[in-house]
Symmetry: C2
Subunit: 224 residues, 2 copies
DNA sequence: CGCACAGTTCGCCCCAAACCGAAGCATCCA
DNA sequence: TGGATGCTTCGGTTTGGGGCGAACTGTGCG
């Protein structure tokens, strides 16, 4: 009667909106702290803690303790595969949560993902940097090349050195389904964009609005 | 905050053990009635009805009314993809429910899917019939060609003509993830296999055991 | 027409689980 | 050492949803 693995346990874990939001946030590949995930899920710290325990027990996420922080990430690529499949299905069944409108288009075009650039712009930046040899991509690895380093200094981009975060990191873009640049470098570039006045955040959303001149300057700077 | 498609709704639908069992049963690709699904899920008819409504509303399954029966099947391949991904993940997280054993291998090799042949053998049969031009496959359509018809009569296979069931039908194979042959033709062929003494069902399971001679004869007959 | 059967609707019960306030650990920093 | 911070544990409340008995609808059949 009951063939096969026990699907329902796993699905039930994903089936709670709070936990689903946490997992979606972790789709970036980046490890997040319990507090960040609580905010993402829109619940209190206690509730988040309980949820995270459940997800950990269900082997959907793994935990790394660092000092007083607990960092969580997806336990394996299989989890990402499931989430990806679910997103695809949910999109097709018309359960979109995105509200089509001007704001949505803006978000799709350029938005912040924590502290770096995502959306069309983010992906284009990433692609261009790879194409021009500024970044060296490998399996599970991403490095800034010598000429990439040169370019960065030439542009006057400063990288926060204190943080333990990796310099470069791929981050899966939700709307594009492709990688964009995260890590200290990603953050540095976005800070630079702000500093140059090329773009600014739209109040109340995660959208980033480029000025006409800023758009041109940004593309020119990275050869997009 | 809440980007992307609403994963949790879909996942929650799969997250109930009863509904998960129903969906797993529908993974065969065959349409099942509400009663059959209720039995599969181990719940009463009323409860099953409610669950089926939910799954239908969530666009995970579709319903076809035929007389006083309601036939349900998976709404799309995307649903099957999600279920497959979940099975894979659940298997790796150690939530196995399958018991590995000799019976399992036999099932994978050849088994009945309601009244036709599934497993390795079923898929091989289907592929061979397509390759030899006995079957004509199209999008959402499957037809027996003239030379296919000739072959069938030559082999002395009789097709039940009373049933309203389609002559040919593709059926998604769970273990192989590829199509095999269902419909009246699929049934006729399996009956022929039994009649010729090429194989017989293993008591108490859905496995079909071919004799050494039967295996050779069957393959020869269809050019597998 | 009357009966049988498949499925649905209604009403109600009940419990697992989601939630938070408050308190308790553990770690970091000054 | 004391206070701030990040996270967990405990206790108690609430509710969404799964479950079934009973009654209703619709189809098939003789």
């Amino acid at each position: 009667m009951k063939d096969g693995p026990d699907i329902s346990r796993v699905a039930a874990l994903i089936g709670d909106p709070g936990r689903a939001n946490m997992l979606a946030a972790l789709m970036s590949g980046k490890a997040l702290t319990a507090g960040e995930l609580a905010a993402e899920a829109g619940v209190s710290a206690q509730t988040a803690s309980a949820h995270l325990q459940g997800l950990e027990a269900g082997r959907l996420i793994s935990r790394a303790r660092q000092g007083r922080h607990h960092y969580f990430k997806l336990a394996s690529d299989d989890v990402a595969v499931v989430l990806e499949a679910l997103m695809g299905l949910a999109a097709k069944t018309g359960q979109l949560r995105t509200r089509t409108g001007p704001r949505d288009a803006e978000l799709r075009q350029a938005r912040v993902c924590y502290n770096h650039l995502a959306g069309d712009m983010g992906v284009a930046l990433f692609d261009a940097m790879v194409a021009r040899g500024f970044l060296d991509v490998g399996p599970d690895r991403l490095a800034l090349t010598a000429i990439g380093q040169e370019k960065i200094t030439q542009l006057g981009i400063v990288l926060g050195g204190k943080s333990r975060a990796p310099l470069c990191r791929e981050c899966l873009d939700w709307s594009e389904r492709r990688s964009h640049l995260a890590g200290r470098l990603g953050r540095g570039i976005l800070d630079h964009v702000y500093a140059q006045g090329w773009a600014e955040r739209v109040e109340g959303t995660r959208a980033v609005r480029f000025t006409r001149h800023g758009d041109v300057a940004f593309r020119a700077a990275f050869g997009i």
